[in-house]
């Protein structure tokens, strides 16, 4: 029997084989433990790689993004004009909006200077000589024509919205103005050689998140919201500062006019954000809407969303959206969906409307078999790797098989491909005969059945249906009555006969 070629294994992982090639690979994998292991290892590597490649700079970063691109484009097109401007004229083009933004950006620069400088040192390679040159030329100079002859801007539509809160900005505008000037005059001296345009320096991802997390005193808006997330111990952990500005202008908002609050990229908490339109009337009943998505930004339909204190419950639509009518104030939103960790967040609703974006994290299929189905409380919580009592009590061989299966499962949950679930099921089938009779054995059988069923759901082939049926039957034969058994019966009914 010749093994699958690396290319075939790689393509199987990506569900990129079709027709006969695919069938051949599936047939071979069903029979060959070596190739299943190789596939599982590949899936594990791919899952880790995806974590390495992933980075979310936060909502605030994206709110300023278009504005910074615009600045960069404008700077690129105005090199000739800059040469004619004297130093006095440099900042004449700045609108109050832009001043406020720069001021806000300048306010965070002190706190994160080291990070910025380090980052900039590393980025010099990226800047093409042309870019460096452009940076030198454009840095201290602004496109003056903007003030007199108003050209259409990316931000124009947002200007109107921004004007609505201009009263809020009045308090900070003078100091922001001053700070931005200081920053601007220092910029060429500090950064001229590096060729970094000023607008690139301020809205780094970290400072933006840092600034929001501190809920700093820019005072652009009085609205407040609090976000918390329940950790594994059941404690509520603030995702940002305990009371962060709800509709405060991040560096972005002074330019974009879209006010929002982004979580400070928690590593172990669901990224959440709340957005609100201008809040003007605190007493009015507010339409609070939101969207529930998964880690890949896909909408989660049919999730149960409850506004616990109001006794309101609703389900998300196909696009993950939900809405409530709620009075202004603090509410607790709880979101539950099959296959995801229950998530709670506190939202402070103010103004005409509020919008919450809730990201759910998938629950490993292992959590049920090995955490909930266990006979003692000391059982392994596989998903979190929290307790190793279970692992230490088994033989090294079983330990290795279990570790391998857990890695394959994590990879499958992360990749979400049929092939990855095939690999996870294969890894769990190795654990089953090694696991002690009783709960551990049944847990392993359940994990095999769950992964086989999931693989069939994602990539419904006749071979997968057959494997799923066999795995489910094996589990049903061993499992006493209970919800887990009912669920497996349901799976069985879904499979083609």
């Amino acid at each position: 029997m010749s093994h699958l070629r690396p290319e075939e294994l790689s393509a199987t992982l990506d569900d990129a084989l079709h027709g006969e090639a695919r069938e051949r690979a599936e047939r071979h994998l069903a029979e060959c433990a070596t190739c299943r292991e190789a596939l599982a290892a590949l899936a594990d590597q791919e899952a880790t790689l995806r974590e390495v490649l992933k980075h979310d700079p936060g909502e605030a970063y994206f709110q300023t993004f278009a504005a910074r691109v615009e600045d960069r484009i404008r700077a690129a097109g105005l090199q000739g004009a800059q040469a004619r401007l004297g130093r006095e004229g440099m900042w004449g083009w700045l609108s109050p909006r832009r001043l406020a933004w720069l001021g806000a950006a300048a306010a965070v620069i002190g706190g994160v200077g080291i990070v910025l400088l380090t980052g900039r040192d590393q980025t010099s390679m990226l800047q093409s000589p042309r870019l460096v040159e452009r940076g030198r030329q454009t840095e201290p100079v602004a496109p003056a024509p903007q003030t007199s002859q108003h050209a259409p801007s990316f931000r124009d539509e947002q200007n109107a919205e921004q004007n609505k809160v201009s009263a809020n900005l009045k308090d900070v505008a003078p100091s922001a103005n001053k700070e931005s000037k200081l920053e601007a005059q220092n910029a060429p001296a500090q950064e001229g050689e590096a060729g970094a345009p000023l607008q690139e320096r301020a809205p780094q991802p970290e400072p933006a998140a840092d600034q929001l997390a501190r809920g700093d005193a820019r005072g652009a808006s009085p609205k407040r919201a609090q976000e918390v997330r329940r950790n594994a111990a059941g404690e509520d952990v603030p995702v940002t500062a305990p009371v962060a500005p709800f509709a405060a202008s991040p560096p972005a908002s002074a330019t974009s006019g879209t006010r929002g609050l982004a979580a400070a990229k928690p590593q172990s908490a669901a990224p959440m954000e709340l957005q609100s339109s201008a809040a003007r009337d605190r007493d009015a009943s507010t339409r609070m809407c939101g969207r529930v998505i998964d880690g890949l930004q896909r909408p989660v339909a049919g999730a149960t969303v409850a506004l616990a204190d109001r006794g309101l419950v609703t389900n998300t639509a196909a696009d993950g959206r939900f809405c409530f009518d709620a009075a202004a104030g603090l509410h607790e939103l709880s979101v539950m969906a099959v296959g995801y960790e229950p998530t709670r967040l506190q939202v402070r609703v103010e103004g005409e409307s509020s919008e919450a974006l809730v990201t759910l994290h998938p629950v490993s299929v292992l959590e049920n078999p090995l955490a909930k189905g266990s006979a003692t409380s000391e059982k392994l919580d596989v998903r979190k790797g929290a307790t190793y009592g279970y692992l230490q009590s088994v033989s090294p061989k079983t330990h290795a098989a279990l570790e391998h299966a857990m890695a394959a499962q994590r990879a499958a949950d992360s990749l979400g491909t049929a092939a990855a679930y095939d690999a996870a099921a294969a890894a769990w089938s190795k654990v089953a005969p090694l696991a002690a009779a009783g709960v551990p054995h049944r847990d392993a059988l359940h994990a095999v059945a769950a992964s086989r069923y999931r693989a069939w759901q994602i990539g419904p082939t006749s071979a997968r249906a057959k494997s799923a049926r066999n795995a489910i039957d094996a589990f049903l034969a061993a499992e006493p009555a209970g919800s887990r058994k009912e669920q497996a019966v349901h799976w069985s009914e879904q499979l083609p006969h």
């Binding site: 990129a16 970063y61 994206f62 278009a66 960069r72 801007s153 890949l296 790797g385």
Partner: protein, 198 residues
């Protein structure tokens, strides 16, 4: 695809065509909308290639600057994303190639300092996972730029082989073989760093 899904996607395509036409006619608001629509996707690609937030920021912005300069030559009716991703990939590949010529000291990603593992997790496992990620990242940086490119486009955006082929302007078969070789090499390099058997 369902009826509704198809009509939705048709609407999106028509909407995008209008946006492109408007941007080509000089409507900068339309271009702003294009930026807003694709900024996240392009940032993800940029970060995948650079793994440094400041570089990703620079690269993502420069992608849109180049797109703005070239929007007049964009063929109306084509999807925008592959075009933008191609600009980003070309910029990133130039960057990676120049870095390979002048190797820099590998730097710790700035974000790493902020990556604290949840206290509920086993600290030992956290250390192992973090070490593995670090080694994987180092191994990735050692790969040929072309190999990094396929891994990034597949890993970050889960693009199909067809889309990757279009983005990198290479035949479909090349994507398949490059991905396979890139994964094998990554595995071998990772094994060499961690002492695992490959």
């Amino acid at each position: 695809m369902s009826e509704a899904g198809r009509s939705n996607s048709n609407e999106k395509a028509a909407d995008e065509t209008d946006l492109v036409r408007a941007a080509q006619a000089g409507d900068s608001r339309a271009f702003g909308e294009i930026v807003t629509r694709y900024q996240r996707a392009i940032y993800r690609v940029a970060y995948g290639f650079t793994r440094i937030p400041a570089d990703a920021d620079d690269l993502a912005q420069e992608t849109f600057v180049r797109a703005y300069q070239a929007i007049g030559r964009f063929r109306v009716g084509e999807p925008l994303y592959p075009w933008l991703a191609r600009i980003a990939s070309n910029l990133a590949l130039s960057l990676l190639r120049s870095r390979r010529r002048k190797p820099e000291t590998a730097l710790e990603p700035l974000m790493e300092a902020g990556q604290q593992w949840g206290t509920e997790e086993d600290p030992g496992r956290g250390v192992i996972d973090r070490e593995r990620k670090k080694h994987l990242e180092q191994a990735l940086a050692e790969l040929k730029p072309e190999h990094q490119a396929v891994l990034v486009l597949r890993g970050v955006e889960e693009k199909s082989y067809e889309e990757i082929a279009k983005t990198l302007n290479v035949p479909l078969g090349t994507v398949m073989s490059r991905l396979s070789r890139a994964r094998a090499e990554l595995r071998a390099r990772l094994a060499a760093k961690t002492g695992e058997s490959s």
